[in-house]
Every structure is written in C-alpha cells, then in structure tokens.
Amino acid sequence: MLLAALSTAVLGTLFGVLITGAPGWDRVKQSFFRADIAKDSLPAILDGLWLNIRLFVVCATCAVALGLLVAVLRTLRGPVFFPVRALATSYTYTLRGLPLIITIYLFAYGVPGLRLQGTPSVTVLGGAAIVITYGSYIAEVLRSGIEGVHPSQVAAARSLGLNYRKTMRFVVLPQAVRRAAPPLLNDVVSMQKDVGLISLAGPVDAIRAAQISQAGSYNFTPYIVAGVLFVLLALPLIAVTDWVTLRAARRQNAGT
C-alpha cells in the first residue's frame, strides 16, 4: 500500500516535470488551459452537451433494438430465410467497415440533397447514421452471445413445447444478453463519445459549441472543457461496464 503510493508519487512527479519542464509548456498552457476562457465557454458547451445526452439516449435505444433484430435475423436457420440472412450479413459487413464519419456525411449531406418531401433535420439524419453504424457492432456482439448459448438449451425449451419465438424470447436471448453484456456495454460507452461526431453535420452539440468558442478566442481551452465533460459523463457507464465484466468473469469461474 505504502509502496504503491510511493511509486505513484514518483512516477507522477516525473511526468509532471517532463511536461511542465518542456520548452513549449508555457505556450501550450496559454492555448489549452486558460481558466478564464474555460469559464466563459462553459455555459454554451453545457447547452451543447444536453443535445449529446439526449441524442445518446435515443441513439443507444434504437441501436440496441436494431442490433437485436439483425442478430436474430442472422441466426435464423433454413433455406427460406436465405435472403433475410444475406441482407443482415451484408449490412453488418458493410457498416462495420464504413467509417462513421463517412456514414454521417452521407446521411447529413446526401439525403437532404435528394430533395424529398419531409426530409428530417440534420440532427435526426446524423443520429440515424450513428444508429445504423452502432447497430451493426451491437448486432455482432449479440449474435456471438446467441451462438454461445448451448444448443441443448434450445432442445430443452423446444421439448417443453415452446415454439421458436418463445424459445428465443425466454431462453436464448436472456442468456445471450448476459453473455454479451461486457462487450455490449463497451460499445455503448464508445457510442457515447462518438455521438459528438454529429457536430460534423452541423448541429450545435458540445464539440460544435467548443469549436465556435475556439473560433472566437483562437484558444483551444473550450475543447479541453468539452473533453473533460465527456469523460465525466462516461465515468458512471464505464464503472458499470467494469462491474458487469467482473461479475461475468466470476460466474464463468464458478463453472456455470
């Protein structure tokens, strides 16, 4: 305990000296860590962050729903379902490979270009881009969870007279979600910060607000403010993820 504290202190001091002792430190301090600018930019960034939070909640819900649907479609058996499987598979292959930034550009700039009646706002379009991208990651995580449930569990459920749908709902999916919870939550944590990429499409979220503030002051402090807020926002979810992962690992070791 004492040793840990001591080595942490030594290492911390070393890092501190290394950074603050660097020849350009004063310049960096001036352009990234100005308290007065941080204070001035905070209200606008907080306003923007509220958009991120709302967007995150809606997008996370939709992405999990989409991921679940695609995961189930991909695990359907039988030749009848080939087109559905093929469609679901090509979706996950394409969207997992496509950079989120490009998807956002395609949605936010491409879709309005079609000049269709009732085209939603860029916020909704950008959100849709995030949903379909993360939907593909979540689909794969859930699919591996579904395939990790032993076939004997399905046999037991079917032998009791449960049809395919009820077997999935009451026996397979609850176990699949438990198995997939740690990677699933990781995706959600990652999504929370990627929601900030919506700023590329134009809506004033926390990052966009920071950018506006930076453009006025020629100082990067607002980005640091936004960054700190994102980290604070993610901390509870990261803590939950760690806890769930630990619990899953314990259960695995218990041999169930």
Binding site: A155, L162, V171
Partner: protein
C-alpha cells in the same frame, strides 16, 4: 397402443443411426432401451420428441402420425416430456421459474395456479426449499429431479428419459431412480434409455436391446437380461457384467 414406431430410419451424413427400427409402447408401460453407445437409443428418443427429423418410416402417438410434415411439432411436444442426460435446466431462471415456464407461456395458465402445481411437485420430491434457488446451487441429483418435474407439469402422455443418471455421481443416482419408480406407480408411460441394468430389471415392464439402429431383442427384463436369445445381446451383457454394472 400409445406409441408406435414403424420402420424408422435416420442417418447423420453417412452414419446410419436408426435402421428400420420398430417399437411399440402401450399406455402405462415402462420400457427400458439398452444397448451400446451409438446403438441409437438417444437418437430414437430425440426423433420421437421431433427434435430430430426421421428420414423414413412413421411414428404415431395415440394413432396420430406425428412425423407427418403437416403436424404442428410444438403441439406434439407438449404431449411428450423429454429429460436429458445433462439436465439442461435454464441457468438464468430459478427452479420455480424453470418449472412454470411451459405451463404459463405455452399453456397460458394463470401464474398462481402454475406455481401451486409446481410447489406441490417440489414438495413431493422433497425440493420445496429449493424453489427460489438457481440451478447452479443444486446437486446433480437435485437438478435432474427438477428437470423431471419440469417435464411432468406439462402432463405429458409419454415421458422419455435419456440416460438421466449417467452424468450423476454414484451416490446421487438413487434419488433419481426412486423418483422414476414412484412415477411408474402413478401409471406414467415411460421410455428410458439406460445403462443401469439393475434398475431396468426392477422398473421396466419390457426391455428392448438396440443394436445397429434396430431392436434386436425385446421381452420381459428377466428374460432379456437373464437369458437372452441373441448372441449380440449376450456379448453386450457380458461386457456390462465385466464393468460391474449388473
């Protein structure tokens, strides 16, 4: 006649597992299927439960051809209970939820009624205090008894038991066998694949020896196990005696 298997064939790839098998089961009859591993016992039970599709032949239950493709397999399975070697309880549900799943979700019975019935059964098999436990807190013998109760609350016409004691520690086998003996007393029709020859002799009305996917010899337990007609049956029993299981 409750169950009639006629000329049942089933292969997995090149491996022929059931090769024109015939077997009949009367109501209230207990039949023990014996035979070496790979002789087709488990596959037969899975085919009767429609978990595996047969390639040829017919299986009728109560005179209805259940292997007809137009038959709703889910409805048939509600009439046939199957208990597995590895229990296959649902690990994310309590003992009580395992048992009431089919009654509430398949038969749409009220939760309170299903629970009362489940508790009655658990009480009878001495596991009432485990109702709220998860399966991983139970011994193998307890899990297997719960699995049997889970099959029974569906009130099946026929109960299939697939080597239900093979995965158990020897000291836990007795409690499961006692339960099966009690079920025989209730008049439950059962087909059990087993390696427990002593038990087959006690509880079965008829023993059927399976060899290479067919019923090679069947009859009263005393005759098949004590004075078998077929050379293959004698060989099999000799090996079992050597292994000290008779």
């Amino acid at each position: 006649m409750l169950l009639e298997c006629t000329e049942v064939r089933k292969s997995f790839g090149d491996a022929v597992v059931l090769d024109g098998l015939d077997l009949t089961v009367d109501e209230h009859e207990v039949i023990a299927l014996i035979g070496a591993s790979g002789s087709g016992k488990s596959t037969l039970l899975r085919c009767v439960n429609l978990l595996a599709e047969i390639d040829d032949g017919t299986i009728t239950l109560d005179g209805e051809d259940i292997t007809d493709p137009r038959v709703n397999a889910d409805v048939v399975r509600q009439k046939i209970g199957l208990v597995f070697q590895s229990y296959n309880l649902f690990p994310h549900m309590t003992v009580l939820d395992n048992i009431t799943l089919a009654p509430t979700k398949v038969h749409q019975r009220p939760a309170a009624e299903a629970k009362a019935q489940a508790m009655e059964w658990l009480d009878r098999v001495g596991l009432a205090d485990k109702a709220g436990s998860y399966p991983d807190r139970l011994s193998g013998g307890q899990q297997q008894r719960v699995a049997i109760v889970r099959a029974l609350v569906n009130s099946p016409r026929l109960l299939l038991l697939d080597e239900v004691t093979s995965a158990l520690d020897p000291e836990l086998v007795g409690e499961v066998l006692t339960m099966i003996r009690d079920l025989k007393g209730d008049g439950m029709t059962m087909v059990l694949a087993t390696h427990e020859m002593g038990f087959a002799r006690q509880v079965a009305d008829r023993v059927a020896f399976l060899d290479k996917g067919r019923v090679l010899e069947q009859g009263p337990p005393g005759q098949v196990l004590g004075d078998p007609v077929e050379a293959r049956t004698r060989q099999f029993l000799a090996r079992i005696i050597e292994a000290g299981r008779l």
